[in-house]
Amino acid sequence: MTETMTPGLGASAEIELRGVSKTFRGTASGDVPVLDNVDFRAAPGEFVSVIGPSGCGKSTLFRLIAGLDVADEGDAELNGEPLDPTDHPVAYMPQKDLLLPWRSVMRNVTLPLEVNGVKRAEAAARATELFPLFGLKGFEKAYPYALSGGMRQRAALMRTVIQERPLMLLDEPFGALDSLTRTEMQEFLLDVWAQFGHTIIFITHDIREAIYLSDRIYVMTARPAQVRMVVEVDIPRPRPLDVIATPRFGELEAGLIHALREENQQQEASR
């Protein structure tokens, strides 16, 4: 744990996976290979997206990095050292906000600190600094049911950021939001990232979302997922919203649509 307020917030990490494979054994449909020899890398402070047909195993990749599952084969390294999931180097934001309905926003956001034995007063002090930034000032004592979808996601993101972990895994965090709120949240996320400089790995279905946010995009194949291609997004930052209307954006989008459509067809065919 850090001694002062913010240094941990700014830390970032390098993660590298080499030849990672995973098969789910003994499921209803037999052994299901999910990941096949996946190489993956995110440099310190990089924003990397993972995109692929639904059900291809993107979330499994996350579960491996977060230490929720163990790979059958392959190596995972964090900052050049073997990844030790029991260290919990990763802050994870799942698809659902998973705010606990019996806790106020403040107590939800400070939950990870409480789990790690931080005193309640200190945890609250740390969270209080973040509330204005996340547009939730004045809602500290509110319960989740009283919040809008966008506010709930911001609270969930805040719960992720407050953990001061160098690596953030965001699993389709905006998937359930309407498109306007979603756009706002994308801008908001880029602001937070610019401020804290985490390494972010982001799963999405949405090609535009991936291009708009990322430095690099991993396109996965149909299951068992391999890396089909890696796209460098060479659009300079900061990226205004209308960047999606530029020719370069269009080119990248066309390439990704083409690749994903092929993979989706593969996925359909294999069913």
């Binding site: 230490g67 930034l133 996340f134 547009g135 319960y143 610019a194």
Partner: protein, 283 residues
């Protein structure tokens, strides 16, 4: 560094908000009256029909006494009625408290230890199929006329619904929520304390409300087959003395105890889980 584009949620000015709150409260009060009135009017209507029939047809009071007579006689015997009521209340309170505490312990252990759950579950289900009619007299033979057989019968009847409610509540915890806690570094017991247990509270209170009414019935039944005091034995002796009015009086009291317990647990659950009721009110 850029400043994040926060969007502070617009809140209406204070006065407008107060007025809206007052309006909402008036609305809620009206709404509540409309909601609870039928529940009170229906039994009153039944009583009115009963009263009209018994007085018009001049029914023998040892067969079916008029409601007014029941109230009158109950009031006359209020001293003895209170003594019996106190005994039944005591048994219910002791038995139900023991049942809740033991059920909580057992449910938590069963949730945390799969082998224990698999070992106990069939027996628990079987315990529910034991006819109370058959076991209650045996309990009197084994344990006498005192408090113990009553408490045991109450536990036997109420224990299972509470355990099942808790186990269902624990099992309904979202897997993703537990995974999330794990990535935060939470240990097994922390996950239980922070997610599984609070998430099971709504189910637990449903179980408690149901078994509280069972507890009263079990106490009265145990008394009916053998006791020194209590509403059950009072019903039995009143019946033998053809005091049907007092039998109904005792029934009325036991019904009142059940309803009160039911409501009391509802109040406690509102106090323990305000978030649950608030989230159900909001759309």
């Amino acid at each position: 560094m850029t400043n994040p584009s926060t969007s502070p949620a617009a809140s209406p000015p204070p006065r407008e908000r107060e007025e809206a709150a007052a309006r909402a409260q008036r609305g809620r009060r009206l709404h509540q009256v409309a909601r609870y009135a039928p529940g009170v009017l229906f039994p009153l209507g039944l009583l009115a029909i009963w009263q009209l029939y018994t007085s018009a047809a001049n029914v023998d009071p040892t067969v079916l006494p008029e409601p007014t007579r029941i109230v009158e006689q109950l009031f006359k015997s209020r001293q003895i009625a209170w003594e019996h009521t106190a005994q039944t209340l005591k048994e219910t309170a002791v038995g139900f408290t023991i049942s809740v505490v033991v059920a909580l312990l057992v449910a938590v252990l069963m949730d945390q230890m799969g082998w224990l759950r698999r070992a106990l579950y069939p027996t628990l289900i079987a315990s529910q199929t034991i006819p109370v009619v058959a076991i209650a007299p045996l309990m009197i033979i084994w344990f006498g006329f005192g408090l113990l057989p009553k408490v045991l019968l109450i536990v036997l009847v109420t224990f299972f619904p509470i355990v099942v409610a808790l186990l269902d509540g624990f099992a309904a915890t979202e897997r993703e929520a537990m995974d999330l806690l794990r990535t935060m570094g939470a240990k097994r017991m922390q996950i239980f304390r922070l997610v599984r247990f609070p998430g099971a509270l709504p189910q637990m209170f449903t179980g408690l409300r149901i078994s509280a009414t069972y507890a009263v019935i079990a106490a009265i039944f145990a008394e009916y087959v053998g006791a020194y005091q209590g509403l059950g034995i009072w019903m039995s002796t009143s019946k033998s003395a053809f005091r049907t009015d007092l039998v109904f009086g005792a029934i009325t009291i036991s019904a009142l105890i059940s309803v009160t317990l039911f409501l009391l647990i509802g109040v406690i659950s509102r106090f323990v889980m305000p978030w649950y009721y608030a989230s159900r009110r909001s759309p």
